[in-house]
């Protein structure tokens, strides 16, 4: 097992390098001169050339990449143009907030998704199955920013039960696990949870239907297991795939929740990306995308390792 993990880590290296290259090139792919956001409109030619040399833009691209990569490996992602603070600390804080939100949303989504999926898979074509399918289709297809707004209107504006935006009462960007902060996370987490819920419910339904149709289920009944005993086998068989989906969903939510984080002004990576894009804050954009992409790679690795631990048929050698 340890060898397998090490091997996977080695495999991850080229992926990580590729990701870093794309992130690096992002600055050059973005339309316009990357310096235009930093320099005043009426800057002289000398100033521009000076800045170009200061940022290293006068060197050939491969050299620029090597220098950049060297800095990244030492934890230096540059400074944000807008705030002047190190990108790493900005991104770090946002990642923590996003991770908290995405984890809670995935947890809620996974719990209800597997519940609906199992009910639907066990009671195929019954009313319960239709209901569960309806809920999951709704979850996959409803525009999430719209659902977020509706929830804000109902629970914040009309009922006044929960705060509409932010991560905490003090307006700071640090979420803490206490009751006051918990109230702030409920609405965005619920809104976000319908995405994984729908996908997990549909996957688990198909999985359970497939597993129940396999010969070994009949063999389990034939050896005298009760329905609960059979259920335990079904869960164990469905777990690797369900967990893989959950891991990927967590990854998507971590980076792909720009709309929801913006609606709720949640100080996470999506919110940060949004700000970076609109302020043309290239170092910040570059840094946050790099960190997010690395998270995704890491999550995939964890999911793969977990799947191998759960399903003996996946080759370990």
């Amino acid at each position: 097992m340890l060898f397998y993990i090490l091997k996977r880590l080695v495999y991850v290296t080229p992926v990580a390098l590729g990701v870093s290259l794309v992130c690096f090139l992002l600055v050059h792919l973005a339309p316009g001169d990357p310096l235009s956001a930093v320099l005043p409109v009426d800057a002289s030619q000398e100033t521009i050339a000076e800045m170009r040399a200061a940022y290293g833009f006068d060197k050939p691209l491969p050299v620029q990449y090597a220098i950049w990569l060297w800095r990244v490996l030492h934890g230096d992602l540059g400074n944000s143009i807008a705030t002047g603070r190190p990108v790493l600390s900005e991104v770090g804080r946002a990642v923590v907030n996003s991770l908290i939100l995405a984890s809670l949303a995935t947890l809620i989504g996974f719990t209800f998704g597997t519940l609906f999926g199992f009910v639907a898979g066990y009671r195929r074509n019954s009313i319960l199955d239709r209901l569960a399918s309806m809920v999951s289709v709704f979850g996959v297809s409803v525009p999430h920013y719209w659902l977020g707004m509706v929830l804000v209107i109902v629970f914040s504006a009309n009922l006044g039960w929960l705060p509409p935006t932010g991560a905490g009462p003090d307006g700071s960007g640090n979420w803490r696990p206490d009751f006051e902060h918990l109230r702030y996370i409920i609405l965005p987490a619920l809104t976000m949870s319908v995405i994984p819920m729908g996908i997990i419910a549909r996957t688990v339904r198909a999985l359970v239907g497939d597993i129940l149709g396999q010969d070994f289920v009949e063999a389990l009944r034939a050896k005298g297991l009760t329905e609960f005993g059979v259920f335990r086998h079904v869960v164990r068989n469905a777990a690797p795939t369900a967990l893989a989906i959950m891991g990927l969903q967590l990854g998507y939510l971590l980076g792909g929740s720009i709309l929801i984080e913006t609606v709720f002004a949640w100080p996470g990576t999506g919110f940060l990306l949004n700000a970076a894009i609109f302020q043309r804050d290239l170092p910040l954009l570059q840094g946050s995308i790099l960190v997010l992409a690395m998270f995704f790679v890491l999550l995939n690795l964890i999911v793969d390792v977990m799947q191998t631990a759960l399903d003996p048929r996946i080759e370990r050698a």
Binding site: R221, A222, R236, N237, P312, R313
Partner: protein, 337 residues
């Protein structure tokens, strides 16, 4: 009731399809019975009905089934699950599919033992190990911790037998236990089953479409066609003195023995009837070489063709005579009994 299994007028219906239509079957204690027939003849359905494995929603079972002195069709869910695997157990055609892929074989056997006998995990493992030794799995200790996909086909079927016999059942049901295996392994498995049956005093029902396998292990053979038993007798009677044209067809369509090079293998023309839309008369009549007007009109009952030998055919005497004549002419190789 002295019989290990007694089935009376069993009818199993799936929607509009009556897969088993009035089967009577008796298995004496300590004996082995082979149920023979082609795909869709109802042999596996009959076998599964003994453990009530058919989905209750999608099937209807009528008639009476007694197994090990218990009335199967009136059991409660709880009684049924204690009965399955404990009193009557089953081995399956494809052991790779019949084991849960994500548990080791040992875990699956101990699970069964603990479910039926409530012993500790350690004791159950000792029992499982003994069973593995008994079915002669090499290096059993290590194999207990193997996953199904890590074993060979023959080894898996041995493990399946160990699983089925782990809780000392009275009756063993085997659904084509050798069909998925290599020819050389088939014989080993059949011999093992015969040996265990004698040793443990098991009563066994085999479902197979392989007459050779049936003769190898069975005391009696019942031939099924279109959901009914068309002929039943001792293995010797069925193979040496068949009285139903379908049995004769099965015997002739065997490829082994001295089939001359270039000679065509005899086959039974046509295909079995649509069970959802059963025509009147004998179901085999459209494919039968002896069929006459009466066969298409009236259905023949099972009638005595000899001592403890029954055949459902209006022209069973002609059929038997034709078989004897052909055999004398061609000196047709006969299965050793």
């Amino acid at each position: 009731m002295n019989a290990a299994v007694a089935i009376e007028n069993l009818k199993v219906t799936f929607g509009a399809v009556r897969a088993v239509d009035g089967v009577d079957l008796v298995l004496e204690k300590g004996q082995a019975l082979a149920l023979i027939g082609e795909s869709g003849s109802g042999k596996s359905v009959t076998l599964r009905a003994i453990l009530r494995l058919h989905s209750e929603k999608r099937s209807r079972i009528e008639g009476r089934i007694q197994a090990a002195g218990r009335d199967v069709l009136t059991m409660s869910k709880r009684e049924l699950s204690a009965f399955r695997g404990g009193t009557v157990s089953m081995i399956f055609q494809e052991p790779l599919l019949a084991f849960d892929p994500v548990y080791t074989v040992g875990q699956q056997i101990t699970e069964s033992i603990r479910r039926h006998e409530g012993v500790s995990a350690g004791q159950a493992r000792v029992r499982a190990l003994k069973m593995f030794e008994r079915v002669r799995i090499p290096s059993p200790e290590r194999r207990l911790d193997a996953y199904p996909h890590e074993m060979s086909g023959g080894m898996r079927q041995r493990a399946m037998i160990a699983l089925a016999l782990a809780c000392r059942p009275e009756v063993l049901l085997a659904d084509e236990p050798t069909t998925a295996l290599d020819a050389t392994v088939q014989i080993q498995i059949l011999l093992l089953l015969r040996e265990l049956q004698a040793e443990l005093g098991l009563s066994t029902i085999f479902v197979t479409h392989d007459l050779g396998a049936a003769v190898e292990v069975a005391d009696r053979i019942a031939v099924m066609y279109a959901g009914r038993i068309v002929e039943t007798g001792t293995a010797r009677q069925i193979v040496l003195d068949p009285h139903h044209p379908y049995t004769i067809g099965l015997l002739r369509s065997r490829a082994d023995g001295a089939l001359a090079k270039g000679a065509r293998l005899d086959t039974i023309p046509g295909s079995p009837p649509d069970l959802a839309n059963r025509p009147p008369g004998c179901p085999f009549a459209p494919r039968c070489f002896l069929a006459e007007e009466r066969c298409r009109r009236e259905e023949p009952p099972l009638a005595a063709a000899g001592p403890s030998h029954l055949a459902a055919c209006w022209r069973s005497e002609e059929a038997a005579a034709s078989f004897r004549r052909k055999r004398a002419e061609a000196a047709e190789p006969v299965l050793a009994v």
